[in-house]
Symmetry: C2
Subunit: 195 residues, 2 copies
DNA sequence: AAAAAATTCTAATCTGGATTAAAATAATGC
DNA sequence: GCATTATTTTAATCCAGATTAGAATTTTTT
Protein backbone atom coordinates (compact mmCIF):
# COMPACT_ATOMS: atom_id res chain seq x y z
CA UNK A 1 0.00 0.00 0.00
CA UNK A 2 2.09 2.81 -1.34
CA UNK A 3 0.22 5.89 -0.14
CA UNK A 4 -2.94 4.64 1.41
CA UNK A 5 -5.68 6.99 0.22
CA UNK A 6 -6.83 9.23 3.05
CA UNK A 7 -9.72 7.74 4.92
CA UNK A 8 -11.77 10.93 4.73
CA UNK A 9 -15.26 10.66 3.27
CA UNK A 10 -14.18 12.94 0.45
CA UNK A 11 -11.24 10.78 -0.57
CA UNK A 12 -13.29 7.63 -0.37
CA UNK A 13 -16.06 9.02 -2.54
CA UNK A 14 -13.56 10.35 -5.00
CA UNK A 15 -11.95 6.96 -5.27
CA UNK A 16 -15.32 5.33 -5.86
CA UNK A 17 -15.91 7.92 -8.55
CA UNK A 18 -12.64 7.13 -10.29
CA UNK A 19 -13.44 3.43 -10.32
CA UNK A 20 -16.90 4.14 -11.69
CA UNK A 21 -15.42 6.35 -14.36
CA UNK A 22 -12.82 3.75 -15.28
CA UNK A 23 -15.55 1.15 -15.61
CA UNK A 24 -17.60 3.42 -17.85
CA UNK A 25 -14.69 4.42 -20.03
CA UNK A 26 -13.48 0.84 -20.42
CA UNK A 27 -16.89 -0.62 -21.16
CA UNK A 28 -18.64 2.10 -23.11
CA UNK A 29 -15.72 4.04 -24.48
CA UNK A 30 -14.82 7.59 -23.61
CA UNK A 31 -17.22 9.39 -25.89
CA UNK A 32 -19.91 6.88 -25.05
CA UNK A 33 -19.71 7.69 -21.38
CA UNK A 34 -21.50 10.82 -20.23
CA UNK A 35 -20.94 12.23 -16.79
CA UNK A 36 -24.49 11.21 -16.11
CA UNK A 37 -23.53 7.58 -16.77
CA UNK A 38 -20.67 7.76 -14.34
CA UNK A 39 -22.78 9.52 -11.74
CA UNK A 40 -25.57 6.98 -12.13
CA UNK A 41 -23.29 4.18 -10.96
CA UNK A 42 -22.73 6.12 -7.76
CA UNK A 43 -26.40 7.00 -7.34
CA UNK A 44 -25.56 10.63 -7.91
CA UNK A 45 -26.40 13.44 -10.29
CA UNK A 46 -23.95 14.41 -12.99
CA UNK A 47 -23.51 17.82 -11.45
CA UNK A 48 -22.35 16.24 -8.20
CA UNK A 49 -19.15 15.05 -9.87
CA UNK A 50 -18.02 18.63 -10.19
CA UNK A 51 -17.58 18.69 -6.47
CA UNK A 52 -14.72 16.23 -6.88
CA UNK A 53 -13.28 17.24 -10.16
CA UNK A 54 -13.02 20.41 -12.23
CA UNK A 55 -14.31 18.87 -15.48
CA UNK A 56 -14.44 15.72 -17.54
CA UNK A 57 -10.90 16.13 -18.79
CA UNK A 58 -9.66 16.16 -15.23
CA UNK A 59 -11.71 13.08 -14.46
CA UNK A 60 -9.93 11.19 -17.22
CA UNK A 61 -6.61 12.59 -16.10
CA UNK A 62 -7.13 11.39 -12.56
CA UNK A 63 -8.17 7.96 -13.79
CA UNK A 64 -4.90 7.73 -15.68
CA UNK A 65 -2.79 8.93 -12.79
CA UNK A 66 -4.45 6.31 -10.67
CA UNK A 67 -3.79 3.66 -13.29
CA UNK A 68 -0.13 4.63 -13.36
CA UNK A 69 0.09 4.54 -9.60
CA UNK A 70 -1.37 1.07 -9.48
CA UNK A 71 1.15 -0.19 -12.01
CA UNK A 72 3.96 1.42 -10.10
CA UNK A 73 2.78 -0.08 -6.85
CA UNK A 74 2.69 -3.59 -8.29
CA UNK A 75 6.16 -3.12 -9.67
CA UNK A 76 7.60 -1.84 -6.41
CA UNK A 77 6.11 -4.71 -4.52
CA UNK A 78 7.65 -7.22 -6.89
CA UNK A 79 11.03 -5.53 -6.82
CA UNK A 80 11.16 -5.54 -3.03
CA UNK A 81 11.06 -9.30 -2.90
CA UNK A 82 14.64 -9.64 -4.03
CA UNK A 83 14.08 -12.43 -6.53
CA UNK A 84 15.80 -12.98 -9.84
CA UNK A 85 14.73 -11.06 -12.95
CA UNK A 86 12.40 -13.69 -14.32
CA UNK A 87 10.65 -14.23 -11.04
CA UNK A 88 10.33 -10.48 -10.47
CA UNK A 89 8.67 -9.99 -13.83
CA UNK A 90 6.31 -12.83 -13.05
CA UNK A 91 5.37 -11.36 -9.69
CA UNK A 92 4.94 -7.87 -11.05
CA UNK A 93 2.54 -9.12 -13.70
CA UNK A 94 0.58 -11.10 -11.19
CA UNK A 95 0.28 -8.19 -8.76
CA UNK A 96 -0.66 -5.73 -11.47
CA UNK A 97 -3.29 -7.94 -13.03
CA UNK A 98 -4.65 -8.90 -9.64
CA UNK A 99 -5.38 -5.26 -8.95
CA UNK A 100 -6.82 -4.67 -12.41
CA UNK A 101 -9.35 -7.47 -12.13
CA UNK A 102 -9.90 -7.29 -8.40
CA UNK A 103 -11.79 -5.16 -5.90
CA UNK A 104 -9.63 -2.13 -6.51
CA UNK A 105 -10.41 -2.22 -10.21
CA UNK A 106 -11.32 -1.57 -12.81
CA UNK A 107 -8.31 0.39 -13.92
CA UNK A 108 -8.76 2.76 -16.84
CA UNK A 109 -7.27 1.86 -20.20
CA UNK A 110 -5.18 4.80 -21.32
CA UNK A 111 -6.91 5.27 -24.64
CA UNK A 112 -7.51 8.99 -24.53
CA UNK A 113 -4.20 10.46 -23.48
CA UNK A 114 -4.17 12.66 -26.59
CA UNK A 115 -7.33 14.44 -25.59
CA UNK A 116 -5.91 15.52 -22.27
CA UNK A 117 -4.83 19.12 -22.01
CA UNK A 118 -1.11 19.57 -22.73
CA UNK A 119 0.11 19.76 -19.16
CA UNK A 120 -1.82 16.68 -18.13
CA UNK A 121 -0.92 14.85 -21.30
CA UNK A 122 2.78 15.39 -20.76
CA UNK A 123 2.53 14.26 -17.18
CA UNK A 124 0.68 11.08 -17.98
CA UNK A 125 2.94 10.34 -20.91
CA UNK A 126 5.93 10.74 -18.64
CA UNK A 127 4.46 8.29 -16.15
CA UNK A 128 3.69 5.89 -18.93
CA UNK A 129 7.16 6.05 -20.42
CA UNK A 130 8.66 5.66 -16.99
CA UNK A 131 6.69 2.51 -16.44
CA UNK A 132 7.82 1.07 -19.75
CA UNK A 133 11.41 1.96 -18.96
CA UNK A 134 11.22 0.30 -15.58
CA UNK A 135 9.74 -2.82 -17.07
CA UNK A 136 12.54 -2.97 -19.59
CA UNK A 137 15.01 -2.63 -16.73
CA UNK A 138 13.43 -5.65 -15.10
CA UNK A 139 13.91 -7.60 -18.30
CA UNK A 140 17.53 -6.52 -18.52
CA UNK A 141 18.09 -7.57 -14.95
CA UNK A 142 16.80 -11.00 -15.85
CA UNK A 143 18.99 -11.22 -18.89
CA UNK A 144 22.02 -10.29 -16.83
CA UNK A 145 21.33 -12.71 -14.01
CA UNK A 146 20.69 -15.45 -16.53
CA UNK A 147 17.05 -16.07 -15.68
CA UNK A 148 15.77 -14.56 -18.94
CA UNK A 149 16.99 -15.39 -22.44
CA UNK A 150 18.53 -12.62 -24.46
CA UNK A 151 15.95 -10.61 -26.39
CA UNK A 152 14.98 -7.21 -27.71
CA UNK A 153 13.73 -5.70 -24.46
CA UNK A 154 12.01 -2.78 -26.11
CA UNK A 155 9.88 -4.98 -28.33
CA UNK A 156 9.38 -7.64 -25.72
CA UNK A 157 8.31 -5.02 -23.24
CA UNK A 158 5.82 -3.56 -25.66
CA UNK A 159 4.46 -6.99 -26.43
CA UNK A 160 3.88 -7.96 -22.83
CA UNK A 161 2.56 -4.61 -21.66
CA UNK A 162 0.22 -4.43 -24.63
CA UNK A 163 -1.33 -7.70 -23.60
CA UNK A 164 -1.80 -6.46 -20.07
CA UNK A 165 -3.21 -3.12 -21.12
CA UNK A 166 -5.76 -4.79 -23.32
CA UNK A 167 -7.21 -7.02 -20.61
CA UNK A 168 -9.93 -4.60 -19.52
CA UNK A 169 -11.19 -4.56 -23.09
CA UNK A 170 -12.36 -8.15 -22.95
CA UNK A 171 -12.70 -8.86 -19.24
CA UNK A 172 -15.63 -7.20 -17.48
CA UNK A 173 -16.71 -10.12 -15.37
CA UNK A 174 -16.61 -10.72 -11.67
CA UNK A 175 -13.36 -10.59 -9.71
CA UNK A 176 -13.59 -14.35 -9.22
CA UNK A 177 -13.01 -15.19 -12.87
CA UNK A 178 -10.58 -12.31 -12.86
CA UNK A 179 -8.43 -14.29 -10.49
CA UNK A 180 -8.11 -16.96 -13.12
CA UNK A 181 -6.65 -14.38 -15.45
CA UNK A 182 -4.29 -13.19 -12.75
CA UNK A 183 -3.06 -16.72 -12.29
CA UNK A 184 -2.70 -17.73 -15.93
CA UNK A 185 -1.66 -14.60 -17.72
CA UNK A 186 1.70 -14.00 -16.07
CA UNK A 187 2.75 -17.54 -16.90
CA UNK A 188 1.60 -17.29 -20.50
CA UNK A 189 3.27 -13.95 -21.00
CA UNK A 190 6.62 -15.04 -19.62
CA UNK A 191 6.83 -18.50 -21.13
CA UNK A 192 8.71 -17.12 -24.08
CA UNK A 193 11.27 -15.42 -21.88
CA UNK A 194 12.66 -18.54 -20.28
CA UNK A 195 16.18 -19.54 -21.00
CA UNK B 1 -6.22 -9.63 -52.13
CA UNK B 2 -9.56 -10.90 -50.94
CA UNK B 3 -11.96 -8.50 -52.60
CA UNK B 4 -9.84 -5.88 -54.22
CA UNK B 5 -11.55 -2.59 -53.54
CA UNK B 6 -13.19 -1.29 -56.70
CA UNK B 7 -10.91 0.98 -58.62
CA UNK B 8 -13.55 3.65 -58.93
CA UNK B 9 -12.62 7.13 -57.78
CA UNK B 10 -15.33 6.92 -55.14
CA UNK B 11 -14.01 3.72 -53.62
CA UNK B 12 -10.46 4.97 -53.67
CA UNK B 13 -11.36 8.22 -51.93
CA UNK B 14 -13.46 6.37 -49.42
CA UNK B 15 -10.58 4.09 -48.62
CA UNK B 16 -8.27 7.05 -48.16
CA UNK B 17 -10.85 8.52 -45.84
CA UNK B 18 -11.04 5.36 -43.74
CA UNK B 19 -7.28 5.30 -43.37
CA UNK B 20 -7.26 8.97 -42.39
CA UNK B 21 -9.98 8.34 -39.87
CA UNK B 22 -8.17 5.34 -38.43
CA UNK B 23 -5.05 7.43 -38.05
CA UNK B 24 -6.93 10.17 -36.27
CA UNK B 25 -8.80 7.82 -33.97
CA UNK B 26 -5.66 5.88 -33.09
CA UNK B 27 -3.51 8.94 -32.48
CA UNK B 28 -5.90 11.45 -31.02
CA UNK B 29 -8.60 9.22 -29.63
CA UNK B 30 -12.15 9.08 -30.80
CA UNK B 31 -13.52 12.06 -28.96
CA UNK B 32 -10.39 14.01 -29.74
CA UNK B 33 -10.91 13.59 -33.46
CA UNK B 34 -13.39 15.90 -35.10
CA UNK B 35 -14.59 15.27 -38.63
CA UNK B 36 -12.69 18.40 -39.50
CA UNK B 37 -9.46 16.75 -38.36
CA UNK B 38 -10.10 13.73 -40.53
CA UNK B 39 -11.06 15.87 -43.50
CA UNK B 40 -7.98 18.05 -43.08
CA UNK B 41 -5.71 15.07 -43.71
CA UNK B 42 -7.42 14.60 -47.04
CA UNK B 43 -7.38 18.30 -47.87
CA UNK B 44 -11.14 18.37 -47.65
CA UNK B 45 -13.85 20.08 -45.71
CA UNK B 46 -15.63 18.26 -42.90
CA UNK B 47 -18.89 18.44 -44.81
CA UNK B 48 -17.35 16.57 -47.72
CA UNK B 49 -17.11 13.42 -45.64
CA UNK B 50 -20.86 13.17 -45.62
CA UNK B 51 -20.69 12.32 -49.27
CA UNK B 52 -19.03 9.05 -48.31
CA UNK B 53 -20.66 8.27 -45.04
CA UNK B 54 -23.97 8.97 -43.35
CA UNK B 55 -22.47 10.24 -40.09
CA UNK B 56 -19.57 9.89 -37.68
CA UNK B 57 -20.92 6.71 -36.18
CA UNK B 58 -20.91 5.11 -39.59
CA UNK B 59 -17.38 6.29 -40.20
CA UNK B 60 -16.22 4.46 -37.11
CA UNK B 61 -18.29 1.44 -38.06
CA UNK B 62 -16.67 1.28 -41.48
CA UNK B 63 -13.23 1.63 -39.97
CA UNK B 64 -13.95 -1.36 -37.79
CA UNK B 65 -15.36 -3.45 -40.59
CA UNK B 66 -12.23 -2.68 -42.55
CA UNK B 67 -10.06 -3.63 -39.61
CA UNK B 68 -11.86 -6.92 -39.31
CA UNK B 69 -11.51 -7.59 -43.03
CA UNK B 70 -7.79 -6.96 -42.87
CA UNK B 71 -7.39 -9.42 -40.01
CA UNK B 72 -9.45 -11.97 -41.85
CA UNK B 73 -7.43 -11.53 -45.01
CA UNK B 74 -4.15 -12.08 -43.19
CA UNK B 75 -5.54 -15.18 -41.58
CA UNK B 76 -6.82 -16.64 -44.83
CA UNK B 77 -3.54 -16.06 -46.51
CA UNK B 78 -1.68 -17.85 -43.76
CA UNK B 79 -4.11 -20.76 -43.71
CA UNK B 80 -3.79 -21.29 -47.44
CA UNK B 81 -0.12 -22.07 -47.16
CA UNK B 82 -0.75 -25.46 -45.70
CA UNK B 83 1.87 -25.30 -42.97
CA UNK B 84 1.70 -26.74 -39.50
CA UNK B 85 -0.17 -24.92 -36.72
CA UNK B 86 2.81 -23.12 -35.28
CA UNK B 87 4.03 -21.88 -38.62
CA UNK B 88 0.53 -20.81 -39.63
CA UNK B 89 0.16 -18.71 -36.49
CA UNK B 90 3.54 -17.16 -37.16
CA UNK B 91 2.62 -16.28 -40.72
CA UNK B 92 -0.77 -14.93 -39.81
CA UNK B 93 0.77 -12.61 -37.24
CA UNK B 94 3.38 -11.43 -39.70
CA UNK B 95 0.84 -10.73 -42.44
CA UNK B 96 -1.55 -8.99 -40.13
CA UNK B 97 1.06 -6.77 -38.55
CA UNK B 98 2.61 -6.01 -41.93
CA UNK B 99 -0.67 -4.56 -43.08
CA UNK B 100 -1.19 -2.67 -39.82
CA UNK B 101 2.14 -0.89 -40.00
CA UNK B 102 2.42 -0.70 -43.78
CA UNK B 103 1.03 1.34 -46.62
CA UNK B 104 -2.47 -0.01 -46.19
CA UNK B 105 -2.52 1.09 -42.56
CA UNK B 106 -3.17 2.42 -40.16
CA UNK B 107 -5.88 0.06 -39.01
CA UNK B 108 -8.32 1.36 -36.42
CA UNK B 109 -8.10 0.08 -32.88
CA UNK B 110 -11.53 -1.15 -31.90
CA UNK B 111 -11.87 1.00 -28.83
CA UNK B 112 -15.31 2.42 -29.40
CA UNK B 113 -17.42 -0.55 -30.31
CA UNK B 114 -19.81 0.27 -27.47
CA UNK B 115 -20.71 3.62 -28.93
CA UNK B 116 -21.81 2.12 -32.21
CA UNK B 117 -25.53 1.87 -32.75
CA UNK B 118 -26.93 -1.54 -31.75
CA UNK B 119 -27.08 -3.09 -35.22
CA UNK B 120 -23.53 -2.04 -36.08
CA UNK B 121 -22.27 -2.97 -32.67
CA UNK B 122 -23.62 -6.48 -32.93
CA UNK B 123 -22.16 -6.91 -36.37
CA UNK B 124 -18.69 -5.74 -35.40
CA UNK B 125 -18.77 -7.76 -32.21
CA UNK B 126 -19.67 -10.82 -34.24
CA UNK B 127 -16.73 -10.24 -36.57
CA UNK B 128 -14.47 -9.72 -33.61
CA UNK B 129 -15.58 -12.89 -31.86
CA UNK B 130 -15.27 -14.79 -35.08
CA UNK B 131 -11.70 -13.68 -35.45
CA UNK B 132 -10.86 -14.74 -31.91
CA UNK B 133 -12.51 -18.08 -32.47
CA UNK B 134 -10.55 -18.66 -35.66
CA UNK B 135 -7.31 -17.79 -33.97
CA UNK B 136 -8.06 -20.24 -31.21
CA UNK B 137 -8.71 -22.86 -33.87
CA UNK B 138 -5.28 -22.20 -35.29
CA UNK B 139 -3.78 -22.75 -31.86
CA UNK B 140 -5.70 -25.99 -31.45
CA UNK B 141 -4.51 -27.16 -34.81
CA UNK B 142 -0.97 -26.58 -33.68
CA UNK B 143 -1.54 -28.44 -30.44
CA UNK B 144 -2.97 -31.39 -32.32
CA UNK B 145 -0.22 -31.57 -34.91
CA UNK B 146 2.36 -31.29 -32.16
CA UNK B 147 3.88 -28.00 -33.25
CA UNK B 148 2.46 -26.06 -30.31
CA UNK B 149 2.68 -27.05 -26.66
CA UNK B 150 -0.55 -27.70 -24.81
CA UNK B 151 -2.05 -24.54 -23.34
CA UNK B 152 -5.22 -22.67 -22.48
CA UNK B 153 -6.11 -21.51 -25.99
CA UNK B 154 -8.66 -18.98 -24.82
CA UNK B 155 -6.22 -17.19 -22.57
CA UNK B 156 -3.29 -17.58 -24.90
CA UNK B 157 -5.36 -16.22 -27.76
CA UNK B 158 -6.41 -13.22 -25.72
CA UNK B 159 -2.83 -12.58 -24.71
CA UNK B 160 -1.45 -12.64 -28.23
CA UNK B 161 -4.27 -10.74 -29.87
CA UNK B 162 -4.15 -8.10 -27.14
CA UNK B 163 -0.53 -7.45 -27.93
CA UNK B 164 -1.31 -7.09 -31.61
CA UNK B 165 -4.31 -4.87 -31.06
CA UNK B 166 -2.28 -2.55 -28.90
CA UNK B 167 0.46 -1.94 -31.47
CA UNK B 168 -1.13 1.14 -33.05
CA UNK B 169 -1.18 2.74 -29.61
CA UNK B 170 2.57 3.05 -29.45
CA UNK B 171 3.66 2.81 -33.09
CA UNK B 172 2.91 5.84 -35.25
CA UNK B 173 6.17 6.02 -37.13
CA UNK B 174 7.04 5.35 -40.72
CA UNK B 175 6.31 2.03 -42.39
CA UNK B 176 10.04 1.35 -42.50
CA UNK B 177 10.41 0.99 -38.74
CA UNK B 178 7.05 -0.71 -38.84
CA UNK B 179 8.65 -3.52 -40.80
CA UNK B 180 10.94 -4.13 -37.88
CA UNK B 181 7.90 -4.70 -35.72
CA UNK B 182 6.43 -7.00 -38.32
CA UNK B 183 9.60 -9.06 -38.28
CA UNK B 184 10.17 -9.22 -34.54
CA UNK B 185 6.72 -9.34 -33.03
CA UNK B 186 5.50 -12.62 -34.44
CA UNK B 187 8.61 -14.36 -33.13
CA UNK B 188 8.32 -12.80 -29.70
CA UNK B 189 4.64 -13.60 -29.43
CA UNK B 190 5.04 -17.23 -30.39
CA UNK B 191 8.20 -18.07 -28.51
CA UNK B 192 6.15 -19.24 -25.56
CA UNK B 193 4.11 -21.58 -27.70
CA UNK B 194 6.93 -23.81 -28.83
CA UNK B 195 7.02 -27.36 -27.71
C1' DA C 1 -17.95 22.06 -75.64
C1' DA C 2 -22.41 21.54 -73.68
C1' DA C 3 -24.99 18.68 -70.56
C1' DA C 4 -25.21 15.49 -66.86
C1' DA C 5 -23.31 13.47 -62.97
C1' DA C 6 -20.13 13.39 -59.30
C1' DT C 7 -17.71 15.73 -55.76
C1' DT C 8 -16.79 19.47 -52.68
C1' DC C 9 -17.73 23.86 -50.44
C1' DT C 10 -20.17 27.69 -47.87
C1' DA C 11 -22.97 29.01 -44.51
C1' DA C 12 -26.28 27.91 -41.48
C1' DT C 13 -28.64 25.23 -37.96
C1' DC C 14 -29.01 21.87 -34.43
C1' DT C 15 -27.95 19.26 -30.34
C1' DG C 16 -26.31 16.31 -26.67
C1' DG C 17 -23.84 16.61 -23.12
C1' DA C 18 -20.59 19.54 -20.43
C1' DT C 19 -20.68 23.17 -17.40
C1' DT C 20 -22.38 26.68 -13.92
C1' DA C 21 -25.07 29.18 -10.23
C1' DA C 22 -27.81 29.02 -6.67
C1' DA C 23 -30.75 26.56 -3.65
C1' DA C 24 -31.53 22.45 -0.85
C1' DT C 25 -30.13 18.80 2.03
C1' DA C 26 -27.00 16.16 4.97
C1' DA C 27 -23.16 15.85 8.10
C1' DT C 28 -20.34 17.59 11.73
C1' DG C 29 -18.69 20.26 15.59
C1' DC C 30 -19.85 22.88 19.55
C1' DG D 1 -30.25 21.96 19.16
C1' DC D 2 -27.85 25.52 16.53
C1' DA D 3 -24.36 27.08 13.51
C1' DT D 4 -21.14 25.85 10.26
C1' DT D 5 -19.38 23.22 6.76
C1' DA D 6 -19.71 19.54 3.34
C1' DT D 7 -22.29 17.38 -0.21
C1' DT D 8 -25.86 17.02 -3.63
C1' DT D 9 -29.60 18.73 -6.46
C1' DT D 10 -32.37 21.55 -9.59
C1' DA D 11 -32.67 24.21 -13.34
C1' DA D 12 -30.57 26.86 -16.53
C1' DT D 13 -26.88 28.05 -19.91
C1' DC D 14 -23.41 27.17 -23.18
C1' DC D 15 -20.84 25.44 -26.85
C1' DA D 16 -17.89 22.58 -29.84
C1' DG D 17 -18.61 19.86 -33.15
C1' DA D 18 -22.04 17.11 -35.84
C1' DT D 19 -25.23 17.66 -39.27
C1' DT D 20 -27.89 19.70 -43.28
C1' DA D 21 -29.34 22.41 -47.46
C1' DG D 22 -28.16 24.36 -51.27
C1' DA D 23 -24.73 26.53 -54.23
C1' DA D 24 -20.40 25.98 -56.57
C1' DT D 25 -17.02 23.41 -58.75
C1' DT D 26 -14.91 19.63 -60.90
C1' DT D 27 -15.19 15.39 -63.59
C1' DT D 28 -17.27 12.52 -66.93
C1' DT D 29 -20.20 11.61 -70.77
C1' DT D 30 -22.03 12.37 -75.23
Amino acid sequence: MAKKAEETRFELQKDRMLRAAARCFNEKGYSGSSLKDVAAILGLTDAALYYYVRNKEELVYECYVRAAAVGREAMQRALHEGLDGMETVLRYLRYHIEIMVGERGPIAIMSEIPSLKPAHREEVLALSRQHSARFEEMLNTGINDGSIADCDVRMTGNAIMGSVNWIPKWHHGDPATGQVIAREFPVILTRGLRR
